[in-house]
């Protein structure tokens, strides 16, 4: 399938990136090549095959529903952010 400029813009939107104009062109070429390559799966017969999503051989690993102390404190976590006020993370306006 052909990847158009608007497809790249749409994918960047889904991916939450801003892209410079030059990047849209170069990523467009790259993604066209990658999608061309992965499309070869079409020729593989997968009728009646169930999908595999994980390979750790287990299901439903249970644990008690208890509140346990975490490895990092609130102060340590808040110290990682650029701007903090009253125990909250400050960001630019939302609306």
């Amino acid at each position: 399938m052909e990847i158009k400029r608007e497809d790249i813009i749409h994918l960047a939107e889904l991916s939450d990136f801003s892209l410079a104009d030059a990047e849209i062109d170069s990523l467009g070429g790259d993604l066209q090549g990658i999608i061309g390559y992965i499309s070869q799966l079409e020729e593989l017969d997968t009728d009646n095959i169930t999908p595999t999503y994980q390979v750790f051989e287990m299901e439903n690993v249970w644990r008690a529903d208890e509140i346990k102390p975490q490895d990092a404190t609130r102060e340590q976590l808040l110290a990682l952010t650029k701007e903090e006020k009253d125990n909250q993370i400050k960001v630019p306006k939302v609306l």
Partner: protein, 456 residues
Amino acid sequence: MKTANKTVTAERLVRDALEKAKYFADYNIFTFLNEEEAIKKAREIDAKIARGEKVGRLAGVPYALKDNFLSPEGQTTAASHILEGFVSPVTATAVEKLEAEDAIMIGRTNMDAFAHGSSTENSYFGPTHNACDKERVAGGSSGGSAVAVALGIVEFATGTDTGGSIRQPASFNGVYGLKPTYGTISRYGVVAMASSTDCIGFFTKTPDDMNLLMEITSGRDEKDLTTLPDYYNNVGAKKITKVGVIKDFDNDSVHPEIRKALQNKIELLKSKGYEIVDLEMPALKYALAAYYIIVPAEVASNLSRYDGVRYGFRSEKSEDLDALYKNTRGEGFMPENKRRIMIGNFVLSSGFYDAYFLKAAKARTLIVQEYAKAFEKCDFILSPVTPNPAFKLGEKTSDPVTMYLEDAMTVPLNLAGVPGLTIPAGKTEDGVALGLQLIGPRRSDKNLIEFSKELA
């Protein structure tokens, strides 16, 4: 492994390692050197030894930590821009276990940003150079770790292997590199790439060192519920009689010197009385395409957390929150990160999900089944790690698909969750390191490491 004692102190070992790290600075191996803390810890261990107290199995052994393992020493950036300034308040389980045995981290190693790549050229800090030939790539994504061990700076280094990121650089630099069975070592505290294939492993100079590190770090972890119940230390010795060779991995598409290395080891095995079994594994041909659908899909989800709000880099010129997300991610990710995130969102988006993601998940089933069938016919498989030896810096950066093709022989193991061990296999006529990989069924890691001694 050389551990500290009364005559050779931990401080001596650590200072030697740091000196070597500085001597080889132009290889661009480290993103951070842990000088002060490492020497402080070495002195504590030496004091324990002087007092006659018991010390750990890795007492004073200097090691290098891939930059995607969280620990409070230095910034954990996964060699990316978007994690710039992130000093972790938590420590990865694997690191805790190594430190509990008194190993000493002397530095964080360079890698492809977020482990996306096969050459360490996608690092925000520039590429690492190959240990044998500075004009060639170190391999990736764990390039820095492989070179740190190959140049003898440290006795071992940690790595992560999502599609070959331990085995390929181990091969390119002539050291041992293990991708264990999926779920053997806890992934807690390691920057996630693709959760269903990510594995923690090591680079060492010997199989015995590898075994020791596995004994120490393997096992169930409540903080990573995908870890398998403890098995590594309970596996009995298995008698190996049959070794499989995959027909499709021994043809003209593979570099002649790699085929020769494979043939040499096959002859060696035959001379020791092992039976060689030819294997047909036709579904492996599709593993790379399936991998570059499944992994980007998981990457797109795992990397959605990097938004500049809670930690790391934040773009400064944003008027509102949405622009903050978009600018931070636009400026903070490397081109390869963007390609993978976008491909991931493409294969997961409505209209394409069935044709790509679901199709790849079904192909994965066929690959899992193919390994299961192969291990009915043989105990282990001997295979090339890559179609070509280490390539020149810049040779494959202009076309992502050409770079991806180098992963064709390593990714199938990750999709199936089976272990693979890279073993050194001599050098090319030009002096470039060669390696081969031994592949075993799930949970055969210990026997796989032991068996590799037969090929030394």
